[in-house]
């Protein structure tokens, strides 16, 4: 039997077709990987890599703001040229703005928490003791909110993956950057797979 026509579903499909290129996944994962990959080199040879610490650790973190610009550029050359140009409804634009606002709020909260930690020893001790659990929870919350606002279901999976990896790292005493790198690798592979599928579908 034919399903009833749903305007919400039509809008959702149009929006999702624009975001099945995996570019968001690739840029997000590369931002994570380039920011934390330096820790591996540092762990391999602390003496050798202390000299180039700035290049392998600080430089990628300092250029993290470049990824949104790279994302927009890639979107134009990969997606717009294949799928055409579209302006989504104001409601959808508001949801996209809400995602950016959410990241801003998280930044502000992190800044406030960091400031409190500077003056309160108990709070600092609590943060250090539960660092991985807190990161896992924030990661899960962020990914889930992005998934809810954007309707991109795979972000729910990324959220669960984040929580599981960080909680496992907490109980197995694994360094904090390893779950981040593992998560980045999974998201990168997913993004590349989606991009290949997208390019095959729209050559």
């Amino acid at each position: 039997m034919t399903a009833p026509i749903s305007l919400k579903e039509i809008e959702r499909k149009a929006f999702l077709s624009y975001h099945q290129d995996g570019l968001a996944d690739i840029c997000l994962s590369l931002a994570l990987l380039t920011s934390f990959i330096g820790f591996i080199f540092f762990e391999l040879n602390p003496v050798l890599f202390t000299e180039v610490l700035w290049i392998i650790m600080i430089a990628p973190i300092s250029i993290v703001w470049l990824w949104p610009i790279i994302y927009v550029g890639m979107k134009k050359s990969f997606t717009v040229s294949r799928l055409g140009y579209v302006e989504f409804s104001p409601k959808r634009t508001r949801k996209t703005k809400a995602i950016f606002a959410m990241f801003l709020i998280v930044n502000i909260i992190a800044f406030i928490a960091g400031s409190i930690a500077l003056v309160s020893r108990e709070f600092t001790a609590f943060l250090f003791a539960h660092f991985l659990i807190i990161l896992g929870f924030i990661g899960w919350l962020l990914f889930s909110l992005v998934a809810y606002l954007s309707n991109v279901q795979r972000f729910y999976v990324y959220g669960i993956l984040t929580a599981v990896l960080f909680i496992l790292s907490f109980y197995l005493n694994i360094a904090f950057y390893k779950p981040i790198l593992a998560m980045g690798a999974v998201i990168l592979v997913t993004g590349i797979a989606l991009l290949i599928r997208f390019l095959r579908k729209y050559p």
Partner: protein, 110 residues
């Protein structure tokens, strides 16, 4: 009424349907334009599955009726032919939606 077997009490309002919207290809186009702010030809062909020529012909009819507006626009120095629904088109689509709903909501099984 063209069919002598039909009258207003037998099938009320069937003949009042907006035939311009009722055509499946045009209805698909309008459904998409209703939920988007604007889209270019490439996006509409991808979403509706219509060929370039077919889409162009239907868009011309909708534009002639004043339901949509087609305009050339430069977005970051690139030219795009953007299509968007006019107020008249939005009102006509809403009226069509209400009429269809009203008509079939009361239709019982036989």
């Amino acid at each position: 009424m063209s069919n002598p077997n039909l009258n207003d009490t037998d099938l009320p309002k069937v003949h009042d349907f907006d035939r311009l919207i009722h055509e499946p290809a045009r209805l698909t186009i309008l459904l998409h334009l209703f939920v988007l702010k604007s889209a270019d030809y490439v996006f509409l062909t991808r979403q509706t599955g219509l060929t370039w020529g077919n889409l162009s012909a239907h868009l011309t009819k909708l534009e002639e009726a004043g339901y949509i507006k087609i305009e050339k626009k430069f977005v970051e120095r690139k030219p795009y032919t953007l299509v968007h629904l006019t107020v008249k088109g939005r009102t006509a689509f809403r009226a069509y939606q209400r009429r269809m709903k009203h008509m079939f909501d009361g239709l019982d099984d036989f």
